[in-house]
Symmetry: C2
C-alpha cells in the first residue's frame, strides 16, 4: 500500500499477529504515495539473548504520541513502556486496557510493531555508550539547564440483581422523567450463575427472555448483556468447552482459548440459541490485574503464549462477536475492557474502574492515538455539580452510559440539577446526526471521531510550564522537564472541540487550535489561548470558523448552526441497523451557507440518496453570533 | 545447614546468584534442626516455553509476607509481583528498590529464590483448571460472600552547591542551636562534574579535601559523599573504565559492569586516592525508572543480562564499598537506593523520593521482611506539626537524616517547635545504646532491629475491616476483601514498639502484641487494642512488660527505665569504629531489676568485658509507673 513500509525481524508467529485480527475498512486509494520518511539505512536491528531489538532513528525535538490507551499523559517521548494488557492501576506504565504497539511522530510518520507479545518501548531516553552524537554533558552543580531527562455513542443504563419487573420499572421511571433510553444493559445477575459465568438466563428473574427482549424493542430499547468469559462448571457448554481451555482458572471459571475456532463456535452457538434479539455485549474483565488473570506461564491448547493470549483476549472477543452479528446482517455496538491494534475497526468502546475525572478526560484525548473509543462512564458523584460535569463529559463521548449496577444511581438523583442533566442528554441526542457522520468518517477514512487537538494542529502541544521543570526537593527532585500536553480538551468530528469543566471549576483555560474558533453558544470569535467561564448548565464547546453543527430537533427537523462567514459540510445517513450501506444504500446531505458582511445570507441543502431515504430533509439554517 | 533445604531448577547462572553476594554473619549453630515444613513431594516444577515454573504448596488461611521492600501493604497472599529493581512509583507492584525474591509464611517457613533475573510470583491467586480442590463457585448475583479474590544511627545533614566554607558555616549553625551532627553528607556538587559523575573533588569549592575531612573529624563529624555510578567523560578513570562498561549510557554517563573485578578495582583505587578519610557513601539512582536506566536489551561485558545486572546493581555496590572499608579495618554506614537479597548483612540504608508519610511509615514495618534497613528521610513539611512528626519518625529509624540539599531546610525552621525537634533528636541520642544492641542482634542472630509487630506475634494481623470488603461501585467494584495489616506500627529492638502519629492526628488506634505493654512515658499498663492520645511533643512508644530501656544521659550515665515487675536485658558495646569485636573485643552489660508488689525493688548490673572497656558503667534504675 502507498505510504506503508514493512520490515520483518525473524519469523513472525501468526498466533501473535495483531494485524491478523484486523478487518479494516479503509479505502487504500485514499493514501497517496510518497517516500519513506524514515531513512531505512538508519534502522538497526539486533538480537540480544532472547530479545529482538529494533532501533528507529529519532530527530531532536520530535514529539511522539501513542503506545496504547493512556490516562495521565499524551506524549510518550522519553517514556519507557512495557505494553501489557491490564486493568490499569492509575499510572501510565504500558499496563492498560489497550496496549497498542503503535506510535506516531509529529515528523509525519507512525511505527506499528505487529506483535501480541509484551514488547518494551524505550522512546528516546536510552543513549548508547557508542553514540555518534551523544547529548552534551552538563554539570548539575553549575548548569541551571541540567535535567535528568536527556534526549535520546446512546444512552445506556445498567443494573444488578434486578429481575424483569425491576428492569421494566426502571424504564418506566426514566420515561416519567422524560428521558429516553436506547440501550438497557443487564449486569451479571441476568445469568443463572455468574463469576464464573453460565451465559444462560436466570429463569427465576427472566421467565421468558425472548419476549422480554421483544417488549423492550417495542419501546425502542435494545438489550445489552454483561459477560466475562470465565466459564462456570454449571454452564451447559462447560464440558464441551473444557478441552479448549487454558491450564489456569480465572475467578473459578475455565478460560477458553478463543484463538481456536472450536472454542468460538461452542460459545457463539449457545449465545445465538439463548440470547435471541440481544443487540450487543459488555465484555468485562478481560484485561488484568496480574493477580486475577492467568499467570504468564499458563498453557493454552493452541500453543500460543499466555502473555500473547492476554494481550489479544479482548480484541479477539470483539472480532468474534462482531463477526457473528455481521454474519446475521445486524450491527452491534458494545463495551469491552481490553483491546489492541487489530480491533480499531470494531464497534466496541473501552471503559474502566479508575473513575478519576481528570484521567477519564485525558482518555478522550489519547484514545484516538491507539484506535480506541473511550467511554468515561458515570457511576456516582459527591455533589450535584460533579454529577452534572460527569454527564456533560459522558454526553460528548462515544457512548453516554450510566453504570448504576452497584448503587442504583439515577440521573435525577440530585433534584436541583435534574433539568440540567435532562438538557445535557437532549444535547447529546441533538448531536446524533453530527456524531453519526463523524463515525462514518472513522469507518471510511480512519479519522477518529474523538481525538486530541494536536492531531489536527501539530503545533498545539500546550504551554511549556517553566515552573514544572524547576527543582523541588520534594515534588520534583530531578528537575524533570514537564512539556505540558493539552490533555483536557478533545475534538469531536470535523468542526467541534470540547473543553469540559472539571468539578470545582467555574472557568478554565482553553487552547484553541490554529485559526478562528467560535463559542458554540454565542458565536463569539476566539483565537489562541483564552480564559473561558460558563455557568454549570453549559459545556465549553467551540466551533471552527466555517463550521456547521446540525442539531436534530425533537420535531425531526435539523437546525444547522452556522459559524463564521461561509462553510459547508456533508452529513451521512443510513438505516443504522444493517450492512445495506455497504451495497450503497445510504444518503449524503450536503449543507452550505455563506453570509459575507455586506451581502444577504445564503444557504443550500443538496441530498444525494442511494436507495435510502433520509429523514433529514427539513433544515433550518441559524447563523450564530 | 539445619532448617535449610535447597532445590535446583536447571543450571544456576553464577552471575545472577544473589547468595553469591552475601557475606552473612549468622551463627549456624543457632539454627536448630527440624523436618521440612513443606511437603517436598508436593513441590512441582515445570518448564513452559522459556519459563521455569516452581509450584509450592499453600494451605488455606496461610498468611504470606515479603517479596521486597513495600510501601502500601505488608501481606502478599493473593498478590502477583514481578520483582524488578526500580525507583518505586507509588504502588506495590514488585518494582521497588529492594526486589528481594523471598517470602515468609505464618505457617513457619520461608522460601528464597536465588536469582537476580526478573521473577514473577503469583501468591496463591492462580488456580489451575485441573485443581484437585478448587475453591467453591459462588454466584455473584445471590451470594453475599462473593469476592473476586478467591483467596538504618546518626544524625546526617546534606547540602547542594555548598563549598567548604558553607559546610563549616552549616555545622556552626547546628552548634549554635545546640544540635550535634555525626555525619555531614555532601550532595553531588562536591565533585568537579556530576550527573554524570567524576568522583573527583571540585577544587574550587574544596581546596584541600583531606584537610577538610580531618577538620570535620576533629569536631566529631564524619563525611559522607553522594555518588551515582554513571561516569563522566571528564572523569580521570573514564578511559580505563570504558572497556568494562555497558552498551548504553545513563544520564550521559558510562555504566560500569561491577560484576567485573577490573571495574571495581579501577573505581576503588581512585576512591581510595581521592577520598582520604571519607567515612561512607550515599549511592543514589541505581534503582530505575525504566526510562532512566539502561534498557533490558543492553549488553554488558561480563555477559550477564541487563535485567539481572539491574536487579543486583545496588547490592553489588554495597558489597564493593563494604569490602573496601573492611579491608582497611574501618566500618562504614551508608545510604543506597537499591538492594537485594545478598546485601542483607551490609551496612547500608535504603531511602527514596516518594515522601508520603504513610508509605514511609509502612516501609518501617515491611523492611524487616526483606532484610533491609529503611530510612524515612526528612526534606520539608507544609506545617510545623508535620515537621515534628517527620522528625519523630526519622528519630526512630535506622538513620535520622535531614536531606536538605534542595531547599536548605533546617531543623529550627519552625521556631515554634524548635525545642520539640531538639528534644526529639536528644531522645534519638539517648536511645543509641539500646539501638546499638539491637543492631548487634541483627548482626549475630539475624533479628531485624526494626520490624513489623507480626514478626514477634503472628496472631497480630490487624482488624478485619468488614466495610473495606463491601461493594462500592466507585471505590471497590469488585468487593475486594481487604484483610487489614498493621502497617503503621513497628518494633524496635527487643522491648520497644513505636506507633507514630501521622500529621493531622491527635490520637490513634494502637494494636499491642500479646501480653502486657506499658506507656513509655507513664508506665501505664495496656493490653490489646487501645485508643492513644498524646501531645505533639510525644511519640507514642510502648514497652513490653519486663522491658528495660537504657537511655544515655548527657553526663554519660545510663538511665535504665524499667517496666513491669521484673526483667533483664543485655547491652552490647564495642569501639564502634573497627572490626576488633570480631576478635572478641567487646563488652556485654547485663541489666536486671525486680520490684514485686510487696517487696523492695532490686536491681543489678553485671559487666563482662573482653579486652574492651565500656563507658556504660554508671547505671541508674528508674521504675516507670
Amino acid at each position: 500500500m502507498n505510504n506503508v513500509w514493512k520490515l520483518c525481524l525473524g519469523t513472525p508467529d501468526p498466533l501473535s499477529s495483531l494485524l491478523a485480527l484486523s478487518g479494516a475498512t479503509l479505502d487504500p486509494s485514499r493514501l497517496s504515495g510518497g517516500a519513506c520518511p524514515l531513512a531505512a539505512a538508519r534502522i538497526e536491528t539486533e538480537r540480544v539473548r532472547d530479545r529482538f531489538v529494533l532501533r528507529i532513528p529519532l530527530s531532536a525535538g520530535e514529539r511522539l504520541y501513542g503506545l496504547g490507551l493512556s490516562f495521565e499523559k499524551m506524549r510518550v517521548d522519553y517514556a519507557a513502556r512495557h505494553l501489557r494488557c491490564d486493568h490499569y492501576a492509575g499510572r501510565d506504565t504500558g499496563r492498560t486496557h489497550a496496549p497498542v504497539p503503535f506510535y506516531v511522530s509529529d515528523a509525519g510518520y507512525g511505527v506499528f510493531v505487529d506483535t501480541a507479545e509484551v514488547a518494551s518501548f524505550y522512546m528516546g531516553g536510552t543513549v548508547r555508550t557508542d553514540a555518534l552524537n551523544p547529548p552534551p554533558e552538563l554539570n548539575r552543580g553549575r548548569d541551571d539547564n541540567w535535567s535528568c531527562n536527556q534526549r535520546a455513542e446512546f444512552v445506556e443504563v445498567s443494573h444488578i440483581r434486578a429481575d424483569e419487573r425491576a428492569a421494566r420499572d426502571e424504564l418506566a421511571a426514566f420515561e416519567r422523567h422524560g428521558l429516553k433510553i436506547d440501550v438497557l444493559g443487564l449486569e451479571p445477575g441476568w445469568q443463572s450463575g455468574s463469576y464464573p459465568c453460565t451465559f444462560e438466563w436466570d429463569r427465576a428473574r427472566f421467565a421468558d427472555p425472548a419476549q422480554f427482549v421483544r417488549d423492550m424493542a417495542g419501546q425502542g430499547v435494545r438489550v445489552n448483556l454483561w459477560e466475562n468469559m470465565y466459564v462456570s462448571r454449571s454452564a451447559r457448554i462447560y464440558r464441551d468447552l473444557l478441552p479448549y481451555c487454558g491450564s489456569h482458572q480465572v475467578w473459578g471459571g475455565a478460560v477458553p482459548d478463543f484463538t481456536l475456532e472450536a472454542a468460538r463456535e461452542i460459545v457463539l452457538r449457545q449465545h445465538r440459541e439463548d440470547h435471541i434479539g440481544v443487540s450487543g455485549y459488555k465484555i468485562d474483565e478481560c484485561d488484568g490485574y496480574d493477580q486475577w488473570l492467568w499467570p504468564d506461564h499458563a498453557r493454552f491448547p493452541s500453543g500460543a503464549s499466555a502473555t500473547a493470549i492476554r494481550n489479544v483476549y479482548g480484541a479477539r472477543l470483539q472480532r468474534m462477536f462482531y463477526d457473528d452479528f455481521r454474519a446475521r446482517g445486524k450491527r452491534t455496538y458494545g463495551l469491552v475492557r481490553a483491546s489492541n491494534a487489530g480491533a480499531a475497526s470494531l464497534p466496541f468502546c473501552l471503559y474502566n474502574d479508575c473513575y478519576s475525572f481528570g484521567q477519564y478526560l485525558t482518555g478522550m484525548a489519547t484514545a484516538g492515538f491507539c484506535g480506541c473509543l473511550w467511554v468515561p462512564e458515570i457511576r456516582d458523584a459527591s455533589s450535584a455539580e460533579e454529577w452534572v460535569r460527569r454527564f456533560q463529559l459522558g454526553a460528548l463521548s462515544p457512548m453516554l452510559m450510566l453504570n448504576a449496577w452497584a448503587n442504583g444511581a439515577k440521573p435525577w438523583q440530585y433534584p436541583e440539577v435534574e433539568s440540567i442533566i435532562a438538557d445535557t442528554i437532549r444535547l447529546r441526542r441533538a448531536l446524533l446526526p453530527y456524531l453519526y457522520t463523524a463515525f462514518y468518517r472513522y469507518h471510511s477514512e480512519g479519522i477518529p471521531p474523538f481525538r486530541a487537538p494536536v492531531m489536527d494542529d501539530p503545533t498545539l502541544t500546550g504551554r511549556e510550564d517553566a515552573s514544572s521543570g524547576a527543582l523541588d526537593g520534594t515534588a520534583n527532585p530531578y528537575e524533570l522537564r514537564a512539556a505540558r500536553d493539552v490533555t483536557d480538551q478533545f475534538l469531536i468530528g470535523d468542526a467541534l472541540m470540547a473543553a469540559p469543566m472539571l468539578p470545582g471549576q467555574t472557568e478554565r483555560e482553553v487552547v484553541l487550535p490554529r485559526g478562528v474558533w467560535h463559542d458554540f453558544y454565542t458565536g463569539e470569535a476566539l483565537r489562541g489561548t483564552v480564559r473561558y467561564a460558563c455557568p454549570l448548565e453549559r459545556i465549553p464547546l467551540f466551533v471552527k470558523s466555517g463550521g456547521i453543527i446540525p442539531l436534530l430537533r425533537e420535531d425531526g427537523t435539523l437546525e444547522a448552526r452556522c459559524y463564521g462567514e461561509r462553510g459547508e459540510t456533508t452529513l451521512y445517513d443510513d438505516d443504522g441497523e444493517t450492512f445495506a450501506f455497504e451495497r450503497g444504500e445510504y444518503a449524503l446531505i450536503r449543507l452550505a451557507f455563506s453570509r459575507p458582511p455586506e451581502s444577504a445570507p445564503q444557504s443550500d441543502v443538496e441530498i444525494t440518496a442511494h436507495n435510502f431515504e433520509t429523514a433529514y430533509k427539513r433544515v433550518t439554517f441559524v447563523p450564530v453570533g
